[in-house]
Symmetry: C2
């Protein structure tokens, strides 16, 4: 059996980056920018008043209480063709373009009207006060956003300023979710004897949706080779297929057999991990296929630890490999010689990271995850990790 570290490396090695597409700027938040973006103009494109006040010549204002003639009124959006001469000024609004020869702005609070045509400037002023100089934020043709970044609201604002309505981004992956199992019924049904409700396809859908991707959730598939084959055929146009159940060693675990007959190439069929040991990973053409163990916690953990990084790779997210280490609040013991991922409660206290496992009794215990905001990783060869030790943590929120 391969280790979780090797499994992740093999998954990422077989995961391609998706193609580019152009999308509307209002849909681009959270997406990976596919090309460098240059500004088509200076920002601001002119010397701009930062205040409501008067545009003046600074050499008129070496003394306080100078009276100036008001030659015009400049609202935002207006371009004045007049030139401010000595002894003159223009009333100007925040965001408006300074008239020629004006080189400073005095705030309205620092002035006093004499009459409709004259204003007293109560203070002295130097050049460039209360104005934003042309191109001080961004210069024309300047590189403003580098390809590969994930677009946040502030970058969306920059794109708008630079006139990019259609944004070049990496495509989102198409993801298919399938639950298999003769024991499963849907959420709307009352399980009969021997049956339970399917929860995996709902939690998986939500894990994917949290990443901003609407997956296709298929109806429950019976443990029958033909039914499995039929559904898999439909999903081979997707980038990722998540199929839970039917990957173990039972008599009715057909999933892997069916996939092999369909020429899916399996990269691995087991991981030395708990929960989620029977996890299989295969590819056909460019479709990544994850066979997930049917237990809810297995499915949940395998998604967080293996599927999410694959989605990030497809979308060209530079996801941080940086590990978080937290101090264990209690001793933790384990049995098997596999790496364990245990549901845990992580917190920041006195500027330190602390973590403790939550009550958990096995890979079917989805309820334990409602108390967890993280997973702690107990290495393969550790059987007793002492309170106060530093331990690796995967954050869930």
């Amino acid at each position: 059996m391969i280790s979780p570290e090797i499994a992740l490396k093999l998954i990422l090695k077989n995961t391609p980056k998706l193609d580019n597409e152009f999308i509307d700027i209002l849909e681009a938040r959270g997406r990976t920018l596919a090309r460098d973006i240059y500004s088509d103009m200076d920002i601001p494109p002119f010397n701009k008043s930062a205040m409501d006040g008067f545009a003046c010549r600074s050499n008129d204002l070496k003394k306080a209480n100078v009276i100036l003639d008001i030659i015009e009124d400049i609202p935002a959006g207006f371009f004045s063709k007049k030139i401010i001469k000595n002894g003159q000024c223009a009333r100007i609004m925040t965001g408006a373009c300074l008239p020629k020869a004006a080189d400073t702005v005095v705030r309205v609070e620092d002035t006093k009207f004499i009459d409709k045509f004259r204003v007293k400037i109560l203070k002295t002023a130097k050049k460039n006060e209360n104005l934003c100089q042309k191109a001080e934020d961004i210069k024309k043709n300047q590189l403003v956003l580098t390809k590969g970044i994930i677009l946040r609201p502030q970058e969306i604002g920059i794109l708008a300023s630079c006139g990019i309505k259609k944004v070049p981004v990496i495509k989102k992956p198409k993801i298919a979710i399938i639950s298999t199992g003769d024991e499963l019924v849907d959420v709307t049904q009352i399980p009969k004897n021997g049956q339970i409700r399917d929860s995996n396809s709902y939690s998986l859908f939500s894990q994917v949706e949290k990443l901003g991707i609407l997956a296709k959730k298929f109806s429950i598939v019976k443990d029958k080779p033909n039914a499995i084959k039929k559904i898999i055929k439909k999903t081979l146009k997707y980038n990722i297929v998540l199929i839970s159940g039917g990957v173990s060693v039972g008599k009715y675990d057909y999933t892997k057999d069916v996939l092999k007959k369909m020429h899916v190439k399996f990269i691995f069929e087991k991981i030395a991990i708990r929960p989620g040991m029977p996890t299989a990973f295969g590819i056909k053409n460019k479709t990544l296929i994850f066979g997930l163990a049917g237990n809810p916690v297995s499915t949940f953990v395998i998604f967080e630890v293996f599927v999410k990084p694959a989605i990030y790779k497809l979308m060209n997210y530079k996801f941080s490999e940086k590990e978080i280490l937290a101090k264990l609040e209690i001793d933790v013991k384990k049995k098997s010689g596999r790496t364990h991922y245990l549901p845990a409660d992580f917190k920041v206290m006195r500027n330190n990271f602390w973590v403790r496992p939550v009550r958990f009794h096995g890979s079917a215990d989805l309820f334990s995850l409602t108390n967890a905001n993280s997973l702690i990783i107990i290495p393969k060869n550790a059987y007793w990790v002492k309170k106060g030790s530093f331990i690796k943590v995967v954050l869930l929120n």
Copy 2:
């Protein structure tokens, strides 16, 4: 002028909690649960095999290498009516219901077929091995999810298990976004002399969208009282109106006047903050109206610091008031007697939080925010905060 702390308190005091609604389980991730949820059944609803193997009576397996008769085959989803007698067993699959009188499961790996009807059990076994006991995860009528929590993928899984297809949640707020200004043109246009492109309504839309809410972004509104009145009338059915521009002291800043004439009650019209001092907050019926300064960084910061908490309150999010403190990497100086929110770069190093302000030259400098993942808060009365001091941080990512 009121402090940012008082401003936030006044906003939250005037912000109601929204009503409940029922939505489909696949749309419920990220929403606030509006009612307590109880399980309609035991989970698991029966003693369930946790492995592929053989369901046996443990008192038959006090010695290794016992040979048992296989009386039937129990796939998942099947309910056996047979009783296992001494010397008998049933082949059983993971997830299947144990037959009567069987009290332990031996993994298939620990057995050897003698022939089609008999199996040798290679090891001893105790009661309750490799099985999940009825109701061990959740008991019928147990409280499983408490109202007020924000639904994560694991809770969506629990809802599915408990048969909740239509989920009671708090409604999402309806949010209207308006940019005003004669100087503004849309992203698709090339600004003429004196004009700039509107970025605020795009960055605000994305800040809202990041919270899972699709806002209504209106077209740019001119600095004309009638135009402003017309658009405000349209938005009074929204829960929040974000209107940027026109709230300052300029001759053409009509927004507040128009709102007052429309009987909007202003709670405050200024905050002692930088950037964003001219921020106004008013209410009409149940609509919250934020008048935002037109500068891009002001708008961005005011959203993060004041509008986001109001959205959380509407959705009944128990947002953590816990402050993050980080060590300053360099000295920071400021001038005005207002609280400053400066774009900053936050990181975790050697298990400590560190922060440093990014290059920033004023509230129009949206570009500075592309280097920022946080804001540092420099208190009103601090003028020189020394390197190594702990300072409050607002995280943006």
